[in-house]
């Protein structure tokens, strides 16, 4: 018996070591999965978004967009962006079906022509309505779309944060070589993201403000500021009127539904 006990105790002693031997990649992935799990089950939400675009001379212009999102049990989220201003694009709708694996499906509805157009996944690195946000910055953050690496723990203002690096899986179409993300240890909310372009130069920094808690557990930022360090331009997003569990269905996110959205 003694001979048996020894190896077992050795194993027990080793266990914490095994846990601490978690690689930085595993830790990065674990944090991403945990953050995603905490957001699971929101079902659907709608919100109004006001974008303020600012060029390097400080000239501002505004865009108003209504956002609808639907969680999808087995695959990525579905999303609708309905443009209310500027007025020449009023009624234009962007529909996306995110996929955990492979390329997302994206369509644009042009109301004057009554035309639904599929757009290429190349588009994801392009500017969303002339803003400093790319389509990929606003699409749902499926865990599978990146690989991860935890770098360090660091304080970001009042928040004790994990700092992790993530690398887009779809390297062909993404505009980034890597992202650096600060998430707080308590709730795994992101507070800052640094974007590095394909040449690994620091391109943009996104910071999050005024988090609200919805249905007792889902955190959503009230403000997001994106600064482009290379062009000197910036874009602020103000999020309003978050509503969860509005009863949206798959059929509200079909290609066919675009023609009736106003």
């Amino acid at each position: 018996m003694k001979r048996l006990m020894l190896p077992l105790s050795v194993v027990l002693l080793l266990l914490p070591m095994v846990a601490s031997a978690e690689t930085v990649e595993e830790k990065g992935l674990r944090l991403a999965v945990e953050a995603a799990n905490r957001d699971h089950g929101f079902g659907d939400f709608t919100a109004d978004m006001v974008m303020t675009l600012r060029n390097k001379h400080g000239d501002e212009s505004e865009r108003q967009v209504r956002i609808k999102r639907l969680e999808n049990k087995n695959d990525g989220e579905k999303g609708l962006s309905i443009f209310d201003s500027p007025r020449d694009v009023r009624g234009t709708v962007f529909l996306s079906h995110s996929h955990k694996k492979g390329q997302d499906d994206q369509w644009l509805y042009l109301p004057a022509l009554k035309r639904v157009k599929r757009i290429s996944s190349r588009n994801k690195s392009g500017s969303f309505m002339g803003s400093e946000f790319a389509y990929e910055d606003l699409s749902s953050l499926e865990v599978e779309k990146y690989t991860y690496k935890w770098l360090r723990d660091e304080k970001f203002f009042d928040h004790d944060c994990y700092v992790s690096e993530s690398y887009p899986v779809d390297r062909r179409n993404s505009g980034y070589s890597r992202l650096l993300t600060w998430v707080d240890k308590d709730s795994l909310r992101p507070w800052k993201v640094e974007y590095y372009d394909r040449k690994n130069a620091h391109l943009k920094t996104l910071t999050f403000y005024d988090y609200g808690k919805y249905v007792d557990k889902y955190f959503r930022a009230g403000q997001m500021k994106m600064v482009n360090h290379q062009s000197g331009k910036s874009t602020d997003l103000r999020w309003m009127n978050y509503r969860f569990n509005t009863g949206l269905k798959d059929s509200d996110f079909s290609k066919n539904s675009l023609k009736r959205i106003k």
Partner: protein, 407 residues
């Protein structure tokens, strides 16, 4: 003609009446009506003098469109979109149209649209073969993209990633053509007052159409079938009593099967449209295929440059009614993604049979939040005589400037 017109006028009155009934339902619902629209003055400058008798050189006009929309809580809605253009020089281009006046009823398992509406089918940027529900409002623009409102009953049944549409089209709209005063026409004026029909019911012939929309993986596919009055008239040359040449539009009965496809393969968008059409005058196929590729961050970090290539073939060949019987098209779309939303679309087309060339350009940008400036140009590069259509328009190159005020 008069009967048919009065039928259509009657139809319009019924819809307008219905609208007012709905408006009157309650003050609250009146308050909830969304009113939007635009007013757009436009000037067109033709550097060359007119070629044909009766034409006027340049052109100034203004277009007005209004959109009234009301939605009930259950997703049902009513839409009313009247449109009018007042043209200083061309009384055929001065026209009004009800682009939309329809009631949409949405249930869990299907959608029904009743009234005047607009439907687009297809995949391509330059050549639209499959699109057949609405008639072209040709006086609006030579590119044929503007459409007239079409009276319809449309039932749309979605299931999973497909949808099946049925259309009953109880009234036919005739194509608009520039009158005697208008540029961008043949030496003969199209006499739209004396259109001829194969079917004795004329404009009251009831057309049917159906379409199956399928989305799978990275592909969108549409299969469509149409049975009714051809939207493309055959133009028959006649001598009028006063001895001048006239073109009479003749509308035959046709059947048309169509397929359109868009595939997103990596960074490429692959596109195809094909039709098979048969009627008493002709039986033929036509096909157009091509691709789109977008360069993101072209020169400027936010700018996108899209490259569009299309090739069109029509079995009727050079003597047929098609303008794109053996034509290659190349387009560049530059989207600056700046605050003004600046966009430039240039298109070049080359006819491989007649070697005629055509270039078009459209530039647009916003001023502030609610004004848009659009500049348009159209250049035929000395078309050869055997490209009849372009040869007729050889002196009609133009530059157009439009300022759209949205409200």
């Amino acid at each position: 003609m008069r009967d048919v017109n009065s039928f259509y006028q009657g139809l319009k009155k019924v819809f307008v009446f219905t609208l007012f009934i709905i408006l009157a339902i309650g003050y609250e619902s009146v308050m909830a009506i969304g009113l939007t629209g635009y007013i757009a003055p436009e000037g067109r400058y033709f550097p060359s003098d007119h070629l044909y008798m009766g034409q006027k050189d340049n052109d100034a006009s203004v277009a007005i469109q209004l959109e009234a929309y009301h939605e009930w809580g259950n997703g049902s809605s009513i839409t009313f979109v009247p449109f009018a253009r007042f043209d200083s020089n061309n009384n055929k281009r001065s026209h009004y149209d009800i682009r939309e006046l329809n009631f949409l009823w949405v249930t869990e398992s299907f959608e029904t649209r009743l009234g005047v509406g607009k439907v687009f089918w297809g995949a391509m940027e330059f050549v639209h073969l499959v699109d057949i529900i609405n008639q072209t409002d040709l006086v609006e623009n030579i590119d044929g993209v503007e459409k007239l409102g079409q009276p319809m009953l449309n039932v749309s049944i979605p299931f999973q990633s497909m949808s099946l549409d049925f259309f009953v089209l109880p009234y036919f709209r005739e194509r608009t053509f520039p009158g005697e005063e208008g540029r961008l026409r043949a030496p003969f004026v199209v006499d739209t007052n004396n259109a001829q029909y194969e079917d004795k019911a004329k404009q009251e012939h009831v057309d049917y159409a159906t379409r199956l929309n399928i989305t799978f993986d990275d592909f969108d596919v549409g299969l469509s079938f149409f049975n009714g009055t051809n939207r493309d008239p055959n133009l028959v040359q006649l001598m009028s009593s006063s001895g001048t040449d006239l073109l009479i539009p003749y509308y035959e009965q046709i059947r048309q099967a169509g397929i359109d496809l868009t595939g997103a393969l990596g960074e490429w968008l692959l596109k195809l449209e094909a039709i098979y059409r048969w009627g008493s005058l002709a039986e033929f196929y036509a096909v157009v295929g091509g691709f789109e590729y977008t360069f993101i961050g072209f020169v400027l970090p936010n700018a996108d440059l899209g490259m569009i290539v299309e090739y069109a073939h029509d079995q009727r060949g050079i003597d047929g009614m098609s303008l794109n019987q053996n034509d290659a098209m190349f387009g560049l779309r530059l989207v600056l993604n700046d605050q003004a939303g600046t966009e430039i679309l240039t298109g070049f087309s080359y006819d491989r049979d007649t070697h005629s060339k055509l270039a078009s350009v459209r530039m647009s940008r916003r001023i502030g939040d609610s004004v848009k400036l659009a500049l348009e140009g159209w250049i035929t590069a000395d078309p050869p005589k055997d490209d009849v259509f372009l040869y007729y328009l050889r002196d009609d190159d133009f530059i157009g400037l439009e300022v759209t005020f949205y409200y």
